[in-house]
Amino acid sequence: MTDQEARDWFDIVTREARALGVHDVETHFSEGESSLTRFANNAIHQNVSELSRSISIRVAIGQRTARATTNRLDRIREATQTAVALARASAPDENLLPLYVPEPATPIDRWDEATAAFSPMARAEAVREAIACVEGAGHVAAGIFSTERGSQILANSNGLFLRHDETGSTFSITATGSDSSGWAKASAVRAGDLRPLALAQSAAEKATRSAKPRRLEPGRYRVLLEPSAVLDLVGQIFGDCTATAVAEERSFLTGRMDEALFGENITIHDDVRHPLQDGAPFDGEGVPRQPLTLFAEGRPADLACSRTAARQAGRTATGHGLALPNESGECVQNIVIAGGSETREELLRKLGRGVLVTRLWYIREVDPFRKVMTGMTRDGTFLVEDGEIVGGLHNFRFNESVVEMLRRVEAMSPSERACGEEAFDMVVPAMLVRDFPFTEVTLF
């Protein structure tokens, strides 16, 4: 998708809208290709590629707005007509603001030509090597290797025209033994930055070391949460760190912005320009994303704020607004949790006797204000004694308040880019946490 193509499409939209008496138009163009090679039982079993594009048109008529989206380039006029008709028929939104008037935005280079051109055979060969590693350790391999490229352009009738191009790649692998398993996963803007073989070795080693798991009684244990487990659990709170969530009194931060909620060692930022982060440097209306400190030394510091929420709060927008119309207001998606200085070995020594957790699974919110989450451990849960891994454990169910847990963090590793399956990728440390509540034990 070239800039000129997008401008030509935008002209079609604006001409059609004007013919219908509508002048305020915002259009989001996207185009991309995603490919994913999936393997299980030591063979590739699903291998897919998707080429797609879409044109999403929003019109504003007074206090009414609506969106129509199509992937059919021959129906841009019809989609514009649909957006206009929907807006005219919709209920008014008293909070709706006029279209954003653009301010200068600095682009971010997140494009890697080699990743954009990665071939199915190159993915298959990397997968074959990873399978051989896991199989060589006596286990069965399953996982994915994906590569993707995408471009988006956001334009509006106030002269906004922003472009962002990005590539991405993810490798994930599970090694399954007769009574144990191990897992590893990584993602990067550049596929060349991934190390599939090293991830395979890590997963295989975890499966080997967790063989013949023993059952440990439920209870409160000191735990070392690896970065993937940290992001999947702590990641559950960030939907609340927005001005709209607080204004609607559905956030755990409602009425608590002045409290020391976490330990003084917890500082959390949202920073789209962090070198290990991904994503576009502007929000759903085109507002440049600003770096935010969400929590400073345990205390709430700032909230993500859309234009609408900013006007209501008498402040400036932070560039985290969702595309309009929407039900949630804003979202943060470039989380960076400040880490510590201890190596994994040092953290294990500090752990003494406790549980090492590789991965958490099926995390769901039990209490929205205390942020009590339930979930399971998975694919590498270990008993640690005297700072040494002594063997695998049956997996636990936990019921933990993330707010309370972040008061019990005793030590952290340096932060790294991590990925899980329950929250978006983040830059987070491993965390040593005391009194982590495992409430039940499952059968494996």
Partner: protein
Amino acid sequence: MQQMALHALDLAAQRGVQYADVRLVEARSQDLATRNGRAAQVADTDSLGMGIRILLDGGWGFAATDDLSAAGIEKAISKARAIAKASAITVRSTVRLAEEPVHKAVWTSPCRIDPLAMPVTQKFDHLLRVDDALRANKAVTLTETLFHATRTRQWFVNTDGSVIDQTRTMTGAGCACYVFRDGDLQKRSYPNSFGGQYQLKGWELVEELDMLAHAGRLGEEAEALHGADACPSGQLPLILDSSQLGLQIHESIGHPIELDRVLGSEANYAGMSFLTLDQLRTLRYGSGIVHVVSDATPAHGPGLGTFAFDDEGVAAQRTDIIRDGLFAGYLTSRETAGAIGDARSNGCLRAAGWDRLPLIRMTNTSLEPGDSTLEEVFDVPHGIYMETNKSWSIDDKRYNFQFGCEIAWEIKNGRRIRMLKNPVYSGISTQFWNACEAIANREHWTLWGVPNCGKGQPEQVMGTGHGASPSRFGGVTVGSL
């Protein structure tokens, strides 16, 4: 459109394949929502695209495109072939597709009032009236209503000769309110949480739900929960309403019976299953009154898993999953049916759209009605009744689960004696179903829609159906969190 699909299939076949199928899918959806009395969502989406699945040299390749020009289709076929050849370098076993008769058919799901043709003003008026009624209780701090409709038309063709034109119309609607007070947030939803009820119907579903009649009660209950006691802890008889039981079926029966999961295909993401192949027809999955079916046929009802043919051209079927408490069957596909000795797939391969590879998915996985009256289900000296899901979690082999509900009542001698808040229950799947003591009759049976079931990489969100009536389970671990 059908000619375009056939043309693409011909092009793929001419270049040499063991098997190929093409799905050309046209979809239109609409989302409307209100929040605290204002419009919060107004969106239409339409898409058209093609997915091409090829088996070549023993490897699978799938390419999807929305560039439906001659060059675009040619490029997608080339991509699918290149992907299949790459897959083949790791092949360990031969793919054998179970036989399926050739089908040439047209099918459209029943829809009395077209939900997409209904005037938007009329739909918003309805949602805003419900929103107003939710806010009638001044303690309510946040309200939300939503409406969703999708019409999907799919032209399926394959190298066996099947040509299937299938149209499905789905509608969903729901409402909820929250009361925040003194550091506690309580919520009540109707007719179900996380979006409401979804069925293969038109606007008539919204009329049947009659949200307006329930809105006032929701506000009262959300406020009353603030003064309610916490659910007591212990091992007690547990009665579940049919919506919560529908999700219990989904998580502790529906997912474990997916044969691809059992065979390891999902090991890296969704996980595996405790239902290893040796359990078939030997495992005592439930008590003798538990009968569960997987039923995609229209006769089962307008479920999100209702269709005439699945997404590899296999006719919709009804399969026993649990019969008289005994584990009786898996969900299968043409590729996996042979693993359990079946000559034919039972028709569970489904794709979330033109851009996704079909996977084994639940259709309508339902607990058949029992023969108890509602009074008999509640007839316990002391127990807990829970209603409307709030949280759900289960381990990656589907043994250990924990569910939370929005509201509960303590039952004594068959009667509700007090409201309880923050209730949760947990257990092991087979132990739970073996403790099933009573199932309400068909009069209380509802076919619930779960519109957001996630599975696969890249993830696919699928709608599934789950019929259930209120039921009682003995000695369940209950408590409050």
